[in-house]
């Protein structure tokens, strides 16, 4: 067939149009990728050391900000994560969704914490986005008046410290600790925000919590490093764990001024912390059933991770909980902080060349074993508490209960050190099971101390 010139012109124009359109699209795509690689961000607003609102930071860093806002998700893993449960809002607690109650899942926790506010309301933790609301409205607030100290890790504090301390964050820290919770709550606005971990000029990581600065200084002093200043002496990779360690740690409120203290002056392992509490004579509460001076461990993720193989290999919290993420030619860290089990390819496969199923199975094996041992330890502890209670009711004199009470204090802290830790043993599998083994033995020894020797 023979095309007439006008048809030929049209056909050629059509083909040329498609080819040129494709080429131009490719050219633009290459240009976009080149721009992405050249400009890690565009400065559309000026961030200063007084910019608290994450929305403002998000104008310069929209990708990170979008990811940061995703911590509202409520997803379960096999042994952790939260489920969204509906509830009827009340005047005192306007939340319409909460996480599942851990106390209902395992009533042994109520026995363990009897007489303490945790026995009244204790739920699975939700994402960073909920930290402020979940603390403001927890049922524990109704049982015991909480101090302002609690806010150190439930709100964006940097600017509040600066305002209350007249520019001195340590003074501001001391001021917030002394306030009642309700008053201190009015001084804060946001859950943890950009400024709590980043320097607004350079975006470098920095520690803003005085309690961590003091805690790590005491820990380094115990290791022979004098006058450790975390913000000038830590390496970049260390900071990728230290900024998380500002809050994911064991702590207590010291003295009448309710100062937040991380008990690391003798070391960071569970026995070191127990020794420290013995020395300073601290107790969190008196156990209602047994009368023991009891301790409650709180989410010691930083301490547990320190005993594990990942810490030993120089892998920081952010490497697995905020792994790198590619956006075109740009690489950013994933600010959607979450369980690595929900993000296996980026969190694990960068180093471990196995399938996602295999990696998940390995992690869950560690967690299953820890959970099983934790249950054995919990039974031993509950049995000890029952024995002390029965002995008290039977009129056994106080001095004869002391050894069993001391065993309860130690065993309970060890069980809680694994139970309250948010990795079900994964952060340091052998250490977690070792601690539980010690706890089981201590609890059973406590029971033996109440029994008459065989043969009498």
């Amino acid at each position: 067939m023979k095309l007439k010139p006008p048809a030929l012109v049209l056909l050629t124009a059509g083909v040329t149009m498609l080819v040129v359109a494709g080429l131009t699209a490719l050219l633009m795509n290459i240009r976009e990728h080149k721009e992405e690689a050249r400009n890690p961000f565009f400065r559309v607003v000026t961030l200063t050391d007084d910019t608290e609102d994450p929305e403002v930071w998000g104008k310069n860093f929209p990708l990170q900000h979008d990811l940061y806002r995703r911590t509202v998700d409520q997803v379960r893993t096999k042994h952790g994560g939260s489920e969204a449960q509906p509830r009827t809002p009340t005047d005192a607690d306007p939340r319409s969704i909460v996480a599942q109650s851990r106390l209902e899942e395992d009533p042994r926790l109520k026995t363990m914490w009897n007489g303490y506010a945790f026995a009244v309301d204790f739920r699975e933790e939700r994402g960073h986005a909920y930290m402020l609301d979940d603390q403001t409205f927890t049922g524990r607030q109704l049982v015991t008046p909480q101090p302002g100290t609690c806010l150190n890790c439930h709100a964006s504090m940097y600017l509040t410290y600066k305002k209350l301390g007249g520019g001195d964050i340590v003074k501001g820290f001391e001021a917030i600790n002394r306030m009642p919770y309700a008053e201190a709550r009015k001084a804060v606005k946001h859950p943890v925000a950009c400024i709590d971990c980043h320097d607004p000029d350079t975006m470098q990581l920095r520690v803003t919590r005085p309690a961590f600065m003091e805690g790590i200084r005491a820990l380094k002093a115990s290791q022979g490093v004098a006058n450790y200043d975390v913000n000038t002496m830590a390496t970049r990779q260390e900071m990728r764990a230290f900024v998380c360690g500002q809050c994911h740690v064991e702590y207590y409120f010291k003295g009448a001024e309710k100062r937040l203290v991380y008990p690391w002056a003798k070391g960071i392992r569970v026995e070191n912390i127990l020794d420290y509490y013995e020395e300073v004579g601290h107790k969190d509460w008196t156990h209602a059933d047994s009368g023991a001076d009891a301790l409650k461990a709180q989410h010691p993720e930083f301490e547990m991770w320190n005993q594990g193989v990942h810490a030993r290999s120089g892998v920081a919290c952010a490497d697995c909980h905020m792994p790198y993420l590619r956006q075109g030619a740009l690489k950013i860290s994933d600010h959607h902080v979450r369980s690595p089990l929900l993000n296996l390819s980026r969190a694990c496969q960068t180093c471990h060349r196995w399938t996602e199923e295999e990696l998940k199975a390995r992690a869950e094996t560690i967690q299953d074993r820890t959970f099983q041992t934790r249950n054995t330890a919990m039974d031993a502890l509950v049995a000890l508490i029952g024995d002390i209670k029965a002995a008290r009711e039977a009129g056994v004199p106080e001095p004869q209960l002391q050894e069993a009470r001391r065993a309860q204090r130690r065993a309970q802290f060890m069980v809680d050190f694994v139970e309250a830790e948010n990795s079900t043993g994964f952060h340091a599998g052998q250490e977690a099971v070792r601690i539980l083994g010690q706890a089981i033995d201590t609890a059973r020894q406590g029971q033996l101390s109440l029994r008459p020797p065989v043969g009498r």
Binding site: P5, L8, V9, T12, A13, V15, T16, V19, V20, L23, T24, L26, L27, N29, I30, R31, H33, A37, L325, R326, G328, A329, K331, S345, R346, Q349, T350, C351, R353
Partner: protein, 149 residues
């Protein structure tokens, strides 16, 4: 206007060649025909691999092409052509697994490269494999010689 069709076709080819040529130059197309390892990190996807190679034990003796393409001319450029197309396609569409993974074909090419340079060594240790999958793999143990990731 007898020459109109020819003019139209010629102009069209010219436009395509012009924009195509510019795109080729702008995208540093010619660099991909060379042996320069920096070219492999042009688009930044291979930055980690490139950085790691700079510090690796093979850095002084082998560049990207020495391990990732066959050594004979025609297979070498066939491999470069195939990878060039698929890498461009993946990077443009953004459709690729993360962390990036080597394909089966490229893994075989790399294994072949190990065996070619280290022939004296591997002849002595390689028995007759029971099946194709059963042979000893160099990079299973020596994964970090080129670059760890």
């Amino acid at each position: 206007m007898r020459y109109l069709p020819a003019l139209v076709v010629g102009a069209s080819l010219g436009v395509i060649a012009g924009i195509g040529g510019y795109t080729f130059v702008y995208a540093k197309g010619a660099s991909y025909l060379t042996n320069d390892p920096a070219a492999c990190a042009n688009c930044h996807v291979m930055n980690e691999q490139y950085d790691a190679w700079l510090k690796s034990s093979h850095h002084a003796v082998a560049a990207c092409n020495d391990c990732h393409t066959p050594h004979a001319l025609v297979p070498k450029y066939t491999t470069k052509g195939l990878n060039g197309f698929w890498h461009s396609y993946a990077f443009t569409t953004g459709d690729f697994p993360e962390p990036i993974q080597i394909t089966g074909r490229n893994r075989r090419v790399t294994e072949g490269a190990c065996r070619e340079c280290h022939a004296d060594m591997v002849h002595a240790i390689e028995g007759v494999p029971a099946s194709a999958d059963d042979s000893v793999s160099c990079i299973r143990c020596h994964r970090s010689v080129g670059h760890l990731h």
